[in-house]
């Protein structure tokens, strides 16, 4: 018997450009105790549908038609007061960013009590305490957490507290909106396990919203694929992953890069292009570089040298807090190292004269994580391409700048007539990120630092953008340092991989060895934690959270680097 029934649901957002149909005639049922995944790219209507169930659409969105029945109640017909009672007791919501969802000045248990007190008349203090302790235990948190404040908890623990809040009143339906997107892969696995466990315990239906096909395969029973507000495919997760019917679903599945799977890149050219570095001098060299922030050591002393004669992609892989982004900003000269020197063609980056600094900027460029922030909203997007081009003295005439911009757009697969002369907010995230790659291409640097270039881009576009970046190496001879948390993409694009853990390189070598057959425990743990888009393949070796925590603590003591072979032109010492 289905528990939640959505029939013919349409949701409209009136805007100044006309009405946007965010959800169009959606039909879906969620049975009691079933887990249903909503998957689709941003703007596909997955979160909007979920919010409509709770009457929490943001202004000016409104339900234009259809019905939502949950356990016999017409959710859309409820008054504001009735809906307030229904939220949390019938349907609960676990938000995306747990760190922003908890009240920073209230203890955890007080926040849990809030929900109970608001829904049930006169509950005694001892009863409240017993219930909050029980709920916290059910999500695997120790009892002392109840008296702590949110800032004293880790990201994974905060997300568990949010799950605990969602299940205190045993709702009929839990909506989890990308509950693990802010967590690293190791924590993600444990939090998802917790969510599945409590959901099974209270027998509620679960709607899991996400864009990661692998996570879905490991977590849900049924899958609903949404695109442009329409349900394009719905069915058993196994059936969808093994035999997708809709071409969009096929795209979604094939766009997930796999460790050891088929490469999404073109074959390497027979004749690799000549590198752009000066022979004999290392293009970039770290000489005992470390970075300390207060009591925290972000990066322990590290030395390596990257030659520029043959272009190559070196990946720096690690979880948040591993020091990989610190390395990126040290390389760009945005931060000065605490000890040691960062050398560009033999020059200390932090001690350059004006002319040297300009030459350094000209030859070391970057692609950043957030394509939304990279364009000044005041200017048309041309400004980001035109300004450095002129500043570095490449421009000879306005017509030449225009041709250069158009060529660069063409090279990354953008239609210049649709992109140039626009304002940043008129372009999608994927378009902006490709434009930033086009900018790098236009400036022809010797070295490109790509700091998580695809982590904020829709899954279906990631492969294309990585291909663009890879082409910079293969067609233009630009050496690239690829900073990422995603081992699967690093496996495919890179020539050399360094795995970072707490500011130390724990394993380094060619990707086929390091990621294909990891030897260091940390690399193995990371690879085990990747959710595979394969229903039969288990989610890594079944380890408990305590075991993993013990493993990580052990690794933090072990400072040795596992070396897995060298490649010419890159020396790690």
């Amino acid at each position: 018997m289905s528990h939640l029934t959505i029939s013919d649901l349409s949701i409209d957002f009136p805007t100044s450009k006309g009405v946007v149909h965010a959800v169009v005639r959606l039909n879906l049922a969620v049975a009691k105790g079933r887990r249903v995944g909503f998957i689709g790219e941003s703007g596909s209507g997955k979160t909007t549908t979920a919010l409509a169930i709770m009457q929490m659409l943001t202004e000016p969105g409104r339900v234009a038609g259809g019905q939502i029945i949950l356990g016999g109640t017409d959710m859309l017909a409820l008054s504001e007061a009735e809906m307030r009672q229904a939220r949390l007791s019938k349907v609960s919501y676990i938000p995306q960013g747990a760190m922003n969802s908890l009240n920073p000045i209230m203890r955890i248990e007080d926040q849990l009590w809030d929900g109970i007190v608001a829904h049930e008349p006169a509950t005694s203090q001892t009863d409240l305490k017993a219930r909050s302790d029980h709920t916290l235990a059910s999500v695997g948190l120790p009892p002392h957490v109840a008296r702590l404040y949110p800032h004293e908890l880790s990201g994974g623990m905060k997300q568990r507290v949010c799950i605990a809040m969602g299940v205190t009143l045993s709702p009929d339906l839990i909506i989890a909106d990308e509950p693990t997107s802010a967590l690293d892969v190791v924590t993600q696995r444990h939090v998802m396990q917790t969510l599945k466990d409590v959901q099974a315990q209270i027998g509620a239906g679960l709607i899991l919203i996400g864009h990661d096909m692998g996570l879905m395969a490991q977590s849900v029973d049924e899958l609903a694929v949404l695109r442009h507000g329409k349900l394009v495919e719905h069915g058993d997760v196994r059936q969808i992953i093994e035999a997708p019917k809709h071409p969009y679903t096929k795209d979604l599945i094939s766009s997930v890069p796999l460790v050891g799977g088929d490469s999404f890149l073109d074959d390497a050219p027979a004749e690799p292009p000549k590198g752009r570095g000066t022979p004999g001098v290392a293009l970039l060299q770290f000489d005992g570089v470390s970075k300390v922030y207060g009591a925290n050591t972000a990066l322990h002393p590290l030395s390596f040298a990257l030659e520029g004669d043959v272009p190559k992609i070196v990946s720096i892989v690690g979880q948040s807090g591993s020091g990989k982004s610190t390395m990126g900003s040290l390389m760009l000269g945005f931060n000065d190292p605490s000890t040691g020197k960062v050398l560009y063609e033999g020059q200390d980056v932090s001690r350059m004269t004006g002319a040297q600094a300009l030459d350094f900027r000209k030859n070391v460029q970057a692609v950043f994580q957030d394509p939304y922030a990279c364009f000044n909203p005041f200017y048309r997007v041309d400004h980001a391409l035109k300004f450095p081009f002129k500043r570095f003295g490449y421009a000879t005439s306005d017509a030449q700048v225009q041709t250069a911009m158009e060529d660069a757009c063409d090279a990354v697969g953008l239609d210049p007539s649709l992109i140039l002369r626009r304002y940043p907010h008129q372009l999608s995230g994927g378009q902006r990120q490709r434009l930033i790659v086009a900018r790098a291409l236009m400036l022809q640097p010797k070295l490109l630092i790509a700091d998580e270039p695809v982590s904020m881009v829709d899954a279906s576009l990631r492969a294309t953008i990585l291909k663009n970046i890879h082409d910079l190496k293969d067609k233009h001879g630009i050496s690239i340092l690829y900073i990422t948390h995603d081992l699967a993409t690093a496996y495919h694009v890179s020539d050399y991989v360094m795995v970072l853990y707490r500011g130390r390189v724990v394993e380094a070598g060619p990707p086929k060895d390091v990621i294909g057959a990891p030897q260091h425990d940390y690399t193995r743990l990371l690879i085990d934690s990747i959710p595979w888009p394969d229903v039969d393949r288990g989610w890594g070796t079944p380890t408990t959270e305590e075991e993993d925590a013990a493993r990580l603590a052990r690794m933090a003591q072990d400072h040795a680097t596992v070396r897995r072979g060298d490649i010419p032109g890159f020396t790690l010492s």
Partner: protein, 306 residues
């Protein structure tokens, strides 16, 4: 085109949508600017069409009411003095024509100077950081705690008669702190923005980053802050004038009110003497408030409603 003619509702919706898209077209902004411009217009048109000689003491009969009213002596208003005269025989209309723009001038002048100082200090503090930032921050924080009226009363009584410009300069010394802090905070958060990093990567110089990349995005904040400090400056100026300080020979709205109080206009029922300048001040403040609310909508799109 065979489209059906637009109904009134459609037109209204289209208008709302256009306003949503371009917040500069908000009615608040238009009304506010209109009210402020009307004060300016009073000054300009008055100088063209009214005899300003009537502003001198004894130029007219004393205590004449506005047209359509009678004073306690049973005299009724005449067209020679449409808004009446004060206790010294000065024509109210002429007083307002000269006084209102003067008050507005002091406010604008003071906050223009204050804002310029604020922009320079705020950018320097936010961008340079370190010692410079500490010094500027401590200085502005200390200055914020000092009540301006107290200091200005002392300073002005030392100066005696001051000119309008000097008055504006003195007030400017107390309105640069909030813009400094506001701009410093904005610069600090903007310094980490992706496009500023991109500009550094493009080899942009510090002045380029400050004025070409950051400043344009600060414009709505600067406007808002400017309007707020105009309000503060006018309040301070009027406050001083009502106490009898400030320029002694030049009519300002505050000075008119001071003289009205001094001459006992309240008990003699000479309401036009203090009432008209107060009304004009109210018009200015409402105008400034509306402009400020309109600018808020420009800088914060969440306040806009469809």
């Amino acid at each position: 085109m065979t489209d059906a003619p637009l109904t009134r509702d459609d037109k209204r919706a289209a208008k709302r949508a256009a306003r949503f898209e371009n917040p500069w077209r908000s009615p608040k902004l238009a009304w506010g600017a209109g009210l402020l411009l009307s004060v300016v217009a009073l000054g300009i048109l008055g100088r063209l069409f009214w005899d300003l000689e009537a502003v001198f003491t004894g130029a007219n009969m004393l205590k004449i009411p506005p047209i359509g009213f009678e004073n306690l002596r049973g005299q009724s208003g005449t067209f020679a003095n449409p808004l009446g005269t004060d206790g010294a025989g000065r024509d109210m209309l002429a007083l307002l024509i000269i006084g209102a723009p003067n008050t507005l001038f002091v406010g604008l002048m003071a906050s223009l100077i204050g804002m310029s100082v604020g922009i320079v200090l705020g950018f320097t503090a936010g961008f340079v950081g370190g010692r410079t930032d500490d010094t500027i921050r401590v200085l502005s924080d200390v200055m914020i705690t000092i009540p301006p009226l107290l200091i200005l009363v002392v300073v002005q009584s030392v100066f005696g008669d001051v000119s309008l410009t000097l008055m504006a300069l003195l007030i400017a010394g107390f309105v640069w702190q909030s813009p400094t802090r506001l701009i410093r905070a904005q610069v600090l958060s903007m310094r980490e923005a992706g496009y500023v990093q991109m500009a550094r990567l493009s080899g942009a110089s510090t002045p380029h980053i400050m004025f070409k990349e950051m400043l344009p995005n600060l414009v709505p904040y600067l406007f808002g802050s400017f309007i707020a400090s105009v309000t503060t400056s006018i309040v301070t100026a009027v406050g001083l004038e009502v106490l009898g300080l400030g320029p002694q020979r030049v009519p300002t709205l505050g000075r008119i009110i001071y003289e009205a109080i001094n001459a006992g206009a309240l008990i003699q029922n000479l309401w036009w003497w203090w009432g008209l300048p107060t009304l004009l001040l109210a018009v200015m403040f409402i105008g400034l408030l509306l402009v400020n609310l309109g600018l808020d909508e420009v800088s914060n799109p969440r306040l806009r409603k469809l």
